[in-house]
Amino acid sequence: MKKLVLLLLLCLLTGLAYADEKFQFNGYIKNELGLRTRDQNYLQKNKDIVQLAGQYNIKDDELVFFAKVKYYYDFAYEKDKLDKAGHYMEHIQRAEWLRDLYLDYNNGPWFLRLGKQQVAWGQADGITILDRVNPVDLREFWLPDMVDIRIPLWMLNINYAPKLDSNLQFLIVPDFEESQVAPIGAPFTVRAYTIFDNTMKAIPGSTWDINQHFPGTRLDHSTYGLQWSDRIADTDYTLNFLYGHYSNARNTTIQTGLHFQVDRDYKLWRVYGGSFNKTFTNPGPMQGFTLRGDFAWYNDEPTYFGDPNIGKTYGFARWDNKFWLIGVDKYIVTKWLLSFQYAQYIMEHRLAENNSFASYQQIPMNAYTYGAQDPVENIFAIKISTDFLNQRIKPELSWSFTDDAQGKVSPKVNYEISDNLLFTLGWHYFYGKPSESNGQFNHQSQVYTQLKYSF
C-alpha cells in the first residue's frame, strides 16, 4: 500500500513540477548491499531505498513548504528467509518514512521553521556532543550518514537575527521519539540489548513486564533549546542550551519471585555548551588551517552503574559529565584534505547515593555494551580524502578509535558513473573487545556497495 502511495505521490510531484515553476522536487532510488566479512559470510543488508522531496514556494522565498519522504525495504530480512529479527521491518519503518514536513517563514530578521525537522548543533564529525536535539537511529550503528541517523521531530524552530552574522535560535519540541537500536538478532544489535534478552530467557518460568514511560505530548513535557550564534575576530561561535528528556530509556527492574517489572524511564537532563570554528586566513604558519571545537556540560545525564565483569547493571545515577572536542582540517598537498579530531568524555564518576551496592558494583557502564566506561574516554578520528579524474573518483579513508585499543577503519571510494548515477564501494572494519563501542561489532565487519540514481 505504501509503495502505491509513493508511486502516486511521485506522479503527482512530477505533474506539479511541470505545471508550476513554484514547485521543485528531487529524489533518489538507491540500493545498498552489505556483506559480512568475518566468520560466516552473509548478506547483512540488501536495501532498496526511495526518497522524494518537494518544495513549494507559496510566497516567493518568504513562505515555503517542504516535505521529504523515504521508504525502504530490506530484502535481507524478509521473513522466513534471513529474518533474524522477527518484526524487523515494521520496527524499522516506524520512525523512518517522514523525514521532513515543515513550513518556512522568512521575513527580515525572523526565520521560522515549523514542522517535522532535524536540527544539528556543533562542529564535531560523527560524534554527537552538542548534536543532541534529535534522537538517533542506531539500527545500523553509526554507519549511515548523519542525516539518516537523526530521527526528525515535530518542533517550532524560531530564529531572530538582531544583527548581521548573528542568530538567536529558540526551539520548542513537543514531540518525543526514543533513540533506536537494532532489535535482537540484527547485525548491529548492541551488546547490552543482547545481554538483557539473554537474561530474560535464562530464568525458566520468569515473567517480564516491561513498561515504557514515554513523556506525554504536553507543553511542559517539551524539549526546549536555545542557541546564540555570532562571530568575533574572524571566529564563529555558538552558545547552546538544551533541556528535555534523555532520548535513551534507563531501566529500573523490580523482582517479585519470578516476576520482573522493568520500568523504562526517559529522564530529564540539560546540556550547556558551545562551539567554535575558525579558519586562519592571514599569512603565517597557521594559514589554511581550520580549527573547530565543541564543549558540552551534561547536567543530570542518566548513567548506568553496575558490574561490567558480569555485564549487569544495578541502577543509574544522575551525573554531571563533560564532553569536548577539538578538530583540525587542512589541505596538506594538492587535493588531499586531512581532518583530525580529538575528543574527551569526562564522567563525574562518583558513587551513587542511597544504595548498598559494593563499589565494584558501582562502576559506570557504557549503556550500549554494559562494559566499563572509563572516567575519561579519549576518542580520536582521522580522515583523509581526495579526488581524481576531475572529481569523478573520490576516495576517502576514515579511522576512529579510542585509547582502549578499539575502533573502526572505513575506506571507501565513490565513482560517478554519470550525472545521476553514483557507485560507492567501501569497507567497515571493526576491532576491539566486545565490551567496547566498536569492538562489540568485531564480527560484523562489512564490505558494502551503494548504487544511487538521483533525479
Binding site: 562542529q123 586566513t281 587535493k335 572529481q391
Partner: protein, 293 residues
C-alpha cells in the same frame, strides 16, 4: 646595495598598494591605449570579479567533457554581493548552491577579503550531515570543483600575485569554441600581456593573456608549465549587459582545455541579473542553514 634593494622593494610594494586602491568599487572601467600594463591588468581583475556591480544573481551550468566525449553536468545557482568595505576588509561574498540532482542542496558561502594576502573564509552546507562545516581553503593550484580551471583561475588569483609585461596590441584571431562551434571575438582589438607569477616554483611559469579593449575582460589565455610548455588554454566570453545606463561586462561562457589530458570544461552562466538589491543577510551562515535539500 642591500638597502637600495629593500628601498626599491618597498617602493614597488607601495606602488602596488597605491595602484590597487586606485579603482573605486561600483564604477565601470575600460582599458585604453596609453595605459600602463598594470592599469590594464587592474581593470581586468576588476571586471573578472564584477567589482563594478553591487550584486550579481545567475544560474550556471558546467560541463565536464573527457577525451572520449563523455560529458557530465553540474548546475548551480550563484549569488554575489560586492561590498568593498574597509571596516571589516570584505571585498565580496559569494553563495553557490548546487541544483544538480546528485548533489542538490550542497552550498558554499565564501567571503573574499580586500587584503590580497588574506585567504578566503568558506563555509559548506553538507546535505548528508544537514549542517554547516567551516572548510579550509583548497590549495590555489587545486582544481575548481573538478573542472579544468584551478581555484587560482576562478577565485584566488589577484592583481598583486603576478608581474606583467605588455607584449603588444593586436586584433584577436578569434576563438573557435568546441562546445557551441561558434567563433568568438574575431578581430576584436586586444592587449596581449605576459603574466608571470611571483610565487616560484608554481604550477605555471607564465600566462599569455588577451584582454579585450571593449569589455576589459581577459578573454583568452595560454598557460605554460615550469618547463615552458603550453599545457592549458582558457577562454572567457564577455558580453555587455546594460544596467541602469551602464555597460556591465558579464562572463557568459568559459571553456578550459587541459592539453595534457584532453579534458575540457565548459561553464555557461545564465539568467545573469546585476544590481537587483540583494541583501547581505543572504550571505550568512544562517541563510546557508535554510537550505532544505
Amino acid at each position: 646595495m642591500k638597502k637600495l634593494s629593500v628601498l626599491l622593494a618597498a617602493i614597488v610594494l607601495i606602488w602596488d598598494i597605491g595602484l590597487a586602491a586606485e579603482l573605486e568599487y561600483f564604477q565601470v572601467y575600460k582599458p585604453k591605449d596609453g595605459m600602463s600594463v598594470d592599469e590594464i591588468m587592474q581593470i581586468e581583475y576588476f571586471v573578472k570579479y564584477t567589482k563594478f556591480a553591487h550584486d550579481v544573481n545567475m544560474g550556471g551550468k558546467a560541463y565536464f567533457i573527457d577525451k572520449s566525449g563523455s560529458t557530465r553536468e553540474k548546475e548551480t545557482a550563484r549569488l554575489r554581493i560586492t561590498l568593498g568595505r574597509k571596516s571589516d576588509d570584505i571585498a565580496y561574498k559569494d553563495l553557490v548552491i548546487f541544483t544538480t540532482p546528485q548533489v542538490r542542496g550542497l552550498g558554499t558561502l565564501t567571503w573574499t577579503y580586500m587584503d590580497p594576502k588574506k585567504q578566503q573564509d568558506s563555509w559548506l552546507w553538507v546535505p548528508s550531515l544537514k549542517k554547516i562545516r567551516k572548510i579550509s581553503n583548497a590549495n590555489a593550484d587545486d582544481s575548481f570543483l573538478g573542472s579544468d580551471f584551478t581555484i587560482d583561475d576562478i577565485l584566488t588569483r589577484r592583481f598583486e600575485d603576478e608581474t606583467y609585461t605588455l607584449i603588444g596590441t593586436e586584433n584577436f584571431k578569434g576563438y573557435n569554441c568546441e562546445y557551441d562551434k561558434k567563433t568568438y571575438f574575431k578581430d576584436a582589438p586586444c592587449f596581449v600581456i605576459e603574466c608571470k607569477p611571483k610565487k616560484s616554483p608554481w604550477y605555471y611559469s607564465k600566462r599569455i593573456l588577451w584582454v579585450d579593449k571593449n569589455t576589459g575582460g581577459g578573454i583568452y589565455e595560454e598557460m605554460y608549465d615550469p618547463l615552458g610548455r603550453m599545457f592549458k588554454t582558457l577562454f572567457k566570453d564577455y558580453e555587455i549587459i546594460k544596467v541602469n545606463g551602464k555597460d556591465y561586462p558579464a562572463q557568459i561562457l568559459l571553456e578550459g582545455k587541459d592539453l595534457r589530458t584532453g579534458h575540457r570544461t565548459v561553464i555557461i552562466n545564465t539568467d545573469i541579473k546585476f544590481d537587483t538589491g540583494l541583501s547581505e543577510d543572504l550571505f550568512t551562515e544562517r541563510a546557508l542553514t535554510q537550505t532544505r535539500w
